[in-house]
Amino acid sequence: MKDTDIKRLLYTHLLCIFSIILSVFIPSLFLENFSILETHLTWLCICSGFVTAVNLVLYLAVKPNTSSKRSSLSHKVTRFLKCCIYFLMSCFSFHVIFVLYGAPLIELALETFLFAVILSTFTTVPCLCLLGPNLKAWLRVFSRNGVSSIWENSLQMTTISSFVGAWLGALPIPLDWERPWQKEDIQMSDAERKFLASHPVDSLHSSMERYGPSPVRLERPLATWLALLFHHSGYTGIESNLRTRTINWSKGRYFFVQIL
């Protein structure tokens, strides 16, 4: 029983990761000028759509909780409608929370809302799939002793780490890499570049000596680095999702080995 559950968990997580990767590559076949950096809003929409679809399909295929007693059509429809309402409400409440956290109220409202949508897809949609529109069950799962199955455990971990990832995504914002004079790259001489490439430790040392730990001029490379880390992934919680999925995966393997 548990063995099969772990296997299923592993496959669902792999599929989710795969869907996120696909959402990066597939649209470029159909859409022109598609790139994560330039048309990030489109990508956010597509990504959330992919993830929602995969979650739904997995839910229908795997059915982790089979304790639905009534299965009349009207019940299913009301349940589905309820789920939609919950999803929308979570989007709006996330939006409100982002604004309270300091997001601008009017300008960039679309960005903020899409961020709320994608965070909802990573947190609310799995909850809806697994627990249904049942707030009490949600509250139970997200408390200390509330987890009762491995599905709920994975749900708890992925959701919490999505939030943490979204939180971490805000950290590089104050770095002043959006200033006009920071946008162009620092031009290095060829010799310098060769030197830096051949002596990574020395280059680190020299850059530390040159810039200090975090002076003005280091912030551009630091920011690009952090942005690569967070701007798409951390900012939308995927990075951490992936990580948690890996953790879960290894955890699953561990269980697997133990069972064997």
Binding site: I97, V99, L100, Y101, G102, K136, L139, R140, F142, S143, R144, N145, G146, S148, W167, A170, L171, I173, P174, L175, D176, R179, P180, W181, Q182, E184, I186, Q187, S189, E192, E209, R210, G212, P213, S214, P215, V216, R217, E219
Partner: protein, 1104 residues
């Protein structure tokens, strides 16, 4: 409880007398006792609507005698808590002072000016030029000067291409040989040009260098002048002398000059200098203006300050082809100028500093301090004027005690000898040829000596002192951490732990002073303090290790829980980045929001928000949480959302640092007087007054809620009548201040008089209110019992239905004792008329009522110092801290008898909120952002020569949030006890009729609230000590991080613009906060002492 006992009031109906009908032998029966609690709780029911708060009746008894004997001990303990905190603060101060003395290069600016009428030396000048027109001391040799200042023009930039070392193959560096016109002039006209290597003084940052170049003095970071509102130079300087001599000075280039010499130029073209990525804007701007201006001839002195080379160095470094391009451009500029020069004009091309091989500057390495200086003229020879230097030194040493007396004396001797020789030389021209070299040598020696002495005292980082200061700060933080963990354990040796370090500190100080006295060195107060701190810290460490550390594992020293530690670490890491320091105003609300949500989530995670039946799966069953939730989930969520909303709203009052061009400061920070449009102004005025009234009403409502307002004591009378008066005064002052310009002329005098009197009156009222509060801090309502007491119960500090075995174990003996007492009372009553019972209301909130009153009284004068619209922020501040306290109190369990603790998360959130309020009241940790107008509140005419009063006013304005939050810090300890009553009241149904309420079995007894703290005075003081230490730790770690950032990044481009001001603000903020903390804790102690003496008086009155 040793003071008195909970009693049902004497006049209450007696619902509890069924209890007494029990036969005495049945008391021992456990089955019977188990049934008792609900009835028993009825005894102390609340019969009196409207008068909420705990009521206590005081009954003389054995416990009182014990209290009196232990009163002395308590006082000792109180004093030692305060002294311990003061000692820790002292260690921090010593560390800060030591670090500051090594880091900040300070110098006093003198405002003496030399003039042409005053000759530089004794006797007349030999060249006798006073009579000539346009001459001053000496005849001028050139009537016009073109000064081309090329920022960061290193000396070797002016060098030719060929390498100096003959053996090595010639290297082609991009910056060599690009200024070929200089070389050509030097070769073709060797008598008309000179190229010098000028050795500049660090710090090699542009503004400091400009100051040095124009004043001839040494550059330092802080020049404490009389006008510290701007960077403007008040010392004697070249530009000032030139303009006063009637020369037309035209400037173009770096806008730093605008700050330094406001309004000094006859014509000026400023270009922004901040954008170091931009190589060409400034230079092209200058080039557009330079030649037309030169050709127009409307100038005597033309200064052009090019920034391209410097920016190129910052962006690419000197080894980049871009640098060659930039230098070639400069070369063309020079060539163009040389072609246009007329015969009476001198061309000076100078670099203000050099750059390192990476293109940075600011430090004192050889490459940074060597700059090029090129003069083009027929001849060049400069006689020096040392008498000025001597006069300056004399004045300066009189003004401060900085300079070493001994060396100064030597220099004076040297100078008097040289000037005597010089006089002799003047009088006897015969032997001039022979003595001239010796006089010149002597004067040069004098100059060098003077320079060396000034450098020693002004312009060098002392790494040893910086490291020592940082080490002391680390030590102080360590003390805080150690002692805060140790303080709540019962074996904390208060007195020995305090006395021994202090004694050792004194011994160390005296030994050090004696040693200095023996070897006759000057006594340095900073070093003395550091020695005292170190010599008191080491015995403490030794004692702590002997007493505590060896017994327990070191891991318990780091008790900060994970998420809080993470947030704290992130906050500390912020200080090491320039952008994050600049963006701290935005980052702090974000962190605070994270903290708030973390608190809410943690409450949920711990299962304190929801009833346990929701949280456990039915089939798991047994894992029920031990304590039932005290609050509903929606309650905490509401608090959290409300806090976030307040934080966001407070963020609207945001002032931008000057470094972020895209950011716009909130328009609401300006005073109302600067607004145009009467309608909007009136609306805003109305909003401000409404905020004032809301603040007033909130405080009164709060006091009324806990009943303390009903007390007839003078502080409460003051709150009732004095506070509205203060609000009225404030509102009237705002009205006058915002409409002062529109007043009719005949009312002018009245208006100005009122705007002087009103703020002083408000401040005076606040001071008198505080004095009243200190005089009589116990705000309780005492009512003598109407007759003999019919019941007397011992305390039953228990609330809620007993849910566990432990509760029953606690309740059952209470009931037993209660009944025992009851019977004894009956017996006594039969013997004689029992003693008078006194019911005192509001004892349960007596500490926090005093704190809240004090905070309000403090807030009003501080509010007056800010712009009008900041009153909204103050309202938000009170609301925010109120919500935060509630949220924190929801998560802090009340450990009834045991040690009280304030968790780290509470203290961290409090400190974070203080920082957030600092920013939301329109402050920034940079000097230009200081609200200078605060100095003129109540003093519209200025202060005359008095300097400490405006400094105090401006400081109070700047550090208002630090002060308020530090004084209010003890509320963190008190609030959970206050919320005890609230939790109970919440559960009561809407007030129905009283009889019904009395019958209801769930009825709770009055909670003890803050009297629980008084029950265990030892724990109370230990908790206060711990709270103080924790707060000091959080603040101390911040200042430590600032100090480390400033010392590690002392070569950073932004060190004098971002890191050093941040450090200074943090340091002053720390000092203000620590003083506020001590005051707040002292106030709690004072209330405690007053409550004790109040009980004692009551007891004596009863005995009579």
């Amino acid at each position: 409880m040793d003071s008195g006992s909970v009693n049902s009031p004497a006049w209450s109906p007696v619902p509890n007398f069924q209890l007494l009908n029990l036969p005495s032998n049945s008391l021992a029966s456990p089955t019977l006792l188990a049934k008792l609690p609900p009835r028993c709780r009825q005894m102390a029911m609340e019969p009196l609507a409207g008068l909420s708060g705990a009521r206590f009746s005081v009954v003389p008894g054995r416990r009182h005698r014990r209290r009196r004997t232990s009163g002395c001990h308590c006082r000792m303990q109180k004093a030692s808590v305060l002294l311990f905190l003061a000692w820790v603060c002292f260690v921090f101060y010593a560390g800060i002072a030591l670090f500051t003395s090594g880091f900040l290069l300070t110098r006093l600016e003198l405002t003496n000016y030399s003039s042409c009428q005053e000759p530089p030396g004794p006797g007349s000048l030999p060249w006798g030029s006073q009579g000539k027109p346009g001459a001053c001391w000496m005849a001028s040799r050139f009537s016009r000067v073109v000064l081309v200042l090329v920022d960061a023009l290193r000396f070797d930039f002016a060098q030719p291409q060929h390498s100096h070392v003959p053996g090595e193959p010639p290297v082609s560096l991009p910056f060599l040989g690009k200024l070929s016109s200089l070389q050509r002039i030097l070769e073709i006209q060797p008598h008309h040009a000179r190229l010098y290597r000028s050795q500049v003084d660090p710090p090699t940052t542009t503004m400091q260098r400009l100051k040095a170049l124009t004043t001839g003095s040494l550059p330092t970071f802080i020049d404490a002048g009389s006008n510290f509102a701007s960077h403007a130079i008040v010392e004697d300087n070249l530009i000032k002398q030139l303009t006063s001599a009637g020369r037309r000075v035209v400037f173009m280039g770096d806008d730093t000059w605008k700050d330094l010499f406001p309004g000094a130029f006859s014509k000026a073209f400023f270009f922004p200098s901040f954008n170091v990525r931009d190589l060409d804007t400034v230079d092209n701007g200058i080039l557009e203006q330079l030649y037309p201006t030169m050709d127009s001839g409307e100038w005597d002195v033309l200064i052009a300050h090019f920034l391209g080379v410097d920016h190129c160095g910052h962006k690419h470094g000197p080894h980049h082809p871009e640098m060659a391009k930039k230098l070639s451009q400069m070369d063309q500029v020079i060539q163009g100028l040389v072609e246009r020069l007329e015969n009476d004009t001198l061309l000076v091309v100078a670099g203000d500093h050099g750059m390192t091989t990476n293109g940075d500057h600011g430090g004192d390495s050889e490459l940074e301090v060597s700059a090029a200086l090129f003069l083009y003229s027929p001849t060049a020879l400069f006689p020096s004027t040392p008498p000025e230097v001597s006069r300056f030194l004399r004045t300066y040493s009189a003004a401060t005690q900085d300079l070493q007396a001994k060396e100064l004396h030597q220099l004076q001797n040297l100078f008097s000898k040289a000037s005597a020789d010089y006089q002799w030389l003047l009088q006897s021209p015969n032997g001039a040829e022979a003595t001239l070299p010796t006089v010149i040598a002597e004067l040069q020696q004098f100059l060098r000596g003077a320079r060396a002495m000034c450098i020693e005292s002004w312009a060098r980082f002392s790494l040893v002192r910086m490291a020592g200061g940082a080490a002391l700060l680390v030590a102080a933080c360590f003390i805080c951490l150690l002692a805060s963990q140790w303080a709540i354990s019962p074996d904390f040796p208060f007195r020995p732990l305090l006395l021994i370090p202090v004694a050792w500190g004194l011994v160390g100080t005296i030994a050090y002073a004696g040693l200095l006295g023996i070897i006759e060195l000057k006594l340095d107060l900073v070093l003395l303090g550091a020695v005292a701190a170190v010599s008191s810290f080491l015995p403490f460490l030794w004692k702590a290790w002997a007493g505590w550390g060896s017994k327990r594992p070191l891991a318990t020293l780091f008790p900060i829980p994970g998420p809080v530690l993470l947030l704290l670490l992130f906050r500390l890491a912020v200080f090491f980045s320039d952008s994050f320091v600049v963006a701290e105003a935005r980052a702090t609300p974000f962190l605070l929001g994270s903290f708030i949500l973390l608190l809410v989530v943690q409450l949920h995670w711990e299962g304190q928000l929801l009833p346990p039946k929701l949280l456990t799966m039915p089939r798991l069953g047994t894992s029920a949480t031990t304590n039932p939730p005290r609050h509903s989930g929606a309650y905490a969520l509401r608090l959290g959302i409300g806090l976030l909303l307040c934080t966001r709203l407070a963020g609207l009052f945001h002032r931008c640092p000057e470094e972020t061009p895209a950011c716009h400061s909130s328009p609401w920070l300006s005073p109302l007087a600067s607004m145009v449009g009467g309608r909007a102004k009136n609306l805003w005025y109305g909003a401000c007054v409404a905020a004032l009234l809301a603040l007033l009403a909130a405080v009164r409502l709060w006091l009324c809620h806990y009943g303390n307002l009903k007390s007839p004591e003078p502080p409460m009378l003051f709150v009732r009548w004095g506070l509205p008066l203060m609000a009225l005064g404030t509102a009237a002052y705002w009205a006058l201040a915002s409409g002062a310009d529109e007043a009719p002329p005949r009312l002018r005098a009245l208006v100005s008089g009122a705007s002087m009197v009103l703020p002083r009156a408000v401040a005076g009222l606040a001071a008198s209110g505080l004095a009243l509060l200190l005089w009589k801090p116990v705000t309780v309502l005492v009512k003598a019992g109407a007759g003999a007491p019919r019941t007397r119960t011992v305390l039953t500090p228990f609330s809620g239905p007993p849910t566990s075995q432990a509760d029953l174990d606690y309740v059952v003996p209470q009931i037993y004792r209660h009944m025992q007492e009851e019977f004894r009372g009956r017996l006594e009553r039969t013997k004689s008329q029992g003693p008078l019972t006194v019911a005192a209301y509001q004892l349960g909130s007596v500490y926090s009522a005093a704190m809240v009153t004090a905070l309000t009284l403090l807030a009003f004068p501080l509010l007056l110092l800010h712009a009008e619209r900041i009153s909204l922020v103050f309202l938000l501040l009170f609301l925010q801290s109120f919500l935060l306290l509630h949220l924190l109190a929801a998560g802090i369990p009340i450990t009834t008898p045991g040690p009280f603790t304030v968790p780290w998360r509470a203290v961290s959130a409090w400190a974070l909120m203080a920082t957030q309020t600092f920013y939301s009241t329109g402050h920034q940790p940079v000097f230009p952002a200081i609200h200078w107008h605060a100095a003129f509140v109540g003093f519209p005419e200025g202060h005359g020569s008095c300097t400490w009063l405006p400094a105090l006013l401006v400081g109070a304005n700047t550090f208002a949030s630090h002060l308020l939050f530090a004084v209010g810090c003890p509320l963190l300890l008190l609030w959970p006890f206050l919320c005890e009553s609230q939790g109970l009241r919440k559960r009561q149904q809407p007030p129905g009729n009283e009889a019904e309420a009395r019958v209801r079995p769930e009825e709770e007894e009055e909670p003890l609230m803050e009297m629980r703290l008084r029950d265990a005075p030892h724990h109370f003081y230990a908790a206060l000590l711990q709270l103080g230490l924790k707060y000091l730790f959080i603040l101390g770690v911040q200042i430590l991080a600032c100090a480390l950032a400033a010392s590690i990044l002392r070569r950073h481009l932004m060190v004098w613009k971002v890191f050093a001001p941040k450090f200074i603000f943090e340091a002053v903020g720390f000092i203000v906060s620590s003083v506020g903390l001590l005051l707040g804790i002292a106030l709690v102690m004072r209330v405690d002492g007053a409550v004790s003496s109040w009980f004692r008086q009551l007891f004596l009155a009863q005995q009579r």
